[in-house]
């Protein structure tokens, strides 16, 4: 049984970690929940029992911290799914509705630190994808501006994610449905993955997240939009809490021009498959062999 396989290891872990940290923690008011959080196992090594306990503890913690009852899902990947994203560069007008839709849905820290999973780049028309010309902070009165194209960039959910390869503690991994996720309770905050990501898909919680309690989204996923901790890494999950239920990600719903497309790459009737089959598509920085599942295309 899988449960037994780890039991001895668990014991060693508990014993040694307790011994190593007994001294460190003795100074702090050593509450049971804190100790449990400290000793929490890696998400992939948790049994169903462990998960339930962890979820309960987290829900209690969030209730205490934000005064709201959260429901933390641990829904796994559906078999036969591989999520893919399409973004129509000929329609994007650079209005950043997606950015703030994402902020709201995924409980991002609002300011100090401000945390965004999506970056919209403004590029001069003519030679596309020369990122050296990218402007991140454009702020005109109205968009689209003539002479520019806009290119939103977020985590590309690579098939060969460099960020996963470099993580020294396996705190990030690729799920069976292709989502690259982070266990916020396992990340040690070394930021090696940020250095490794060619798409700036990862961001860091430079301080304790700052979320107005009334704007909290309480329907969360353990691997997704639950409120994060300070000093851990964070990234777009294609709204794992939504897409595993069959709902469109928040950025798709926020987009006013229908630029964003989402679907199952394994389903031949999905929108994403149709656009890959019928439109000219490209993926960013293909020479790095990361094989993103984020397809930019031209709908026009």
């Amino acid at each position: 049984m899988a449960g037994n396989r780890y039991s001895r290891r668990d014991f060693i872990r508990m014993a040694s970690v307790a011994a190593l940290s007994g001294f460190g923690l003795s100074g702090v008011s050593c509450k049971k929940a804190d100790l449990e959080e400290f000793l929490q196992k890696h998400y992939l090594e948790m049994t169903e029992e462990d998960k339930k306990r962890t979820i309960k503890r987290l829900e209690e913690k969030y209730l205490k911290k934000y005064g709201k009852q959260f429901t933390i899902s641990t829904q796994g990947a559906k078999p036969g799914t591989l999520w893919g994203y399409g973004l129509d560069l000929s329609r994007c007008i650079g209005c950043r509705r997606c950015v703030y839709g994402c902020v709201k849905e995924n409980n991002h820290s609002r300011y100090n630190p401000q945390l965004h999973w999506i970056r919209v780049l403004r590029l001069p028309e003519g030679s596309l994808i020369n990122l050296e010309n990218a402007e991140h902070y454009y702020d005109p009165a109205l968009v689209p501006e003539p002479g520019y194209v806009y290119m939103p960039v977020q985590c590309q959910h690579c098939e060969n994610p460099p960020c996963v390869k470099v993580c020294p503690v396996h705190a990030t991994w690729k799920e069976p449905d292709g989502l690259v996720v982070v266990d916020y309770n396992w990340c040690i905050g070394c930021r090696y993955c940020i250095a490794a990501c060619p798409y700036k898909g990862r961001v860091f919680n430079w301080a304790e997240p700052n979320i107005p309690a009334e704007e909290l989204n309480t329907a969360v996923h353990y691997l997704g939009n639950r409120p994060r901790y300070k000093n851990v890494v964070d990234k777009c999950t294609f709204c794992v809490q939504r897409v595993r239920q069959g709902r469109y990600p928040a950025c798709v719903e926020a987009c006013p021009t229908g630029t964003r497309k989402f679907g199952n790459l394994l389903d031949p009737n999905s929108e994403i498959r149709y656009l890959i089959d019928h439109k000219r598509v490209f993926r960013m920085k293909e020479d790095l062999n990361t094989e993103p599942k984020f397809y930019y295309f031209f709908g026009l």
Partner: protein
């Protein structure tokens, strides 16, 4: 491409299902055609069309009115409508039905509901209509899989009288690094 995993295995099953489904649809199609005199387009889950406030149903005003089919500039009513959609060759009654104002009119003369306006648009914008039907053009929200979803109508984004997408105000840019408390620091280089 990553989707060929189990394709071959289920292909046959899918094909069988498809044949059954197709023959069923075909018979339905023939039935409807006979009944309705025309092949009905697929129904899409669309939201209520974005009517101007308090204007629909049009028959509220138009019911007792004599239909003037002469092409002209509207002076008393609907003056807010500036037709910038092939305005040289087109006017109101090309799309709005003269006899039943609560309906739209296709080129064939057939009446359709406002919630089916995509058929009207699709008459000219064929490739766009094709893309819209499969979900590549236009916006959809809700469940892409196993739940209700909404297909936005053409007119949800494009004003039918002036269809060019209007520029909008963008949301604020992200803060520059080292921005702390002062929002003014945001615009600095």
């Amino acid at each position: 491409m990553y989707y060929s995993k189990q394709q071959d295995v289920c292909l046959e099953r899918v094909n069988m299902r498809r044949i059954v489904l197709l023959s069923f649809l075909l018979s339905l199609f023939v039935f409807c055609w006979v009944l309705d005199g025309r092949a009905k387009e697929e129904d899409f889950p669309v939201p209520r069309p974005p009517f101007s406030e308090g204007i629909f149903p049009c028959s509220n005003c138009h019911a007792g009115m004599e239909a003037n089919t002469k092409r002209r500039e509207l002076k008393e009513e609907h003056t807010n409508i500036q037709l910038k959609h092939g305005s040289v060759s087109r006017w109101c009654l090309d799309c709005h039905d003269a006899t039943n104002r609560d309906m739209l009119k296709l080129a064939s003369g057939e009446h359709i509901d406002f919630s089916h306006s995509y058929e009207l648009c699709g008459q000219c914008h064929g490739p766009t209509y094709r893309d819209w039907k499969v979900g590549v053009h236009g916006k959809r929200i809700g469940y892409f899989d196993g739940g209700p979803r909404t297909y936005f109508l053409c007119v949800n984004c494009h004003n039918p009288h002036d269809p060019k997408f209007k520029p909008i105000k963008p949301e604020p840019p992200p803060f520059k690094p080292l921005y702390k408390y002062n929002p003014a620091a945001r615009s600095g280089k």
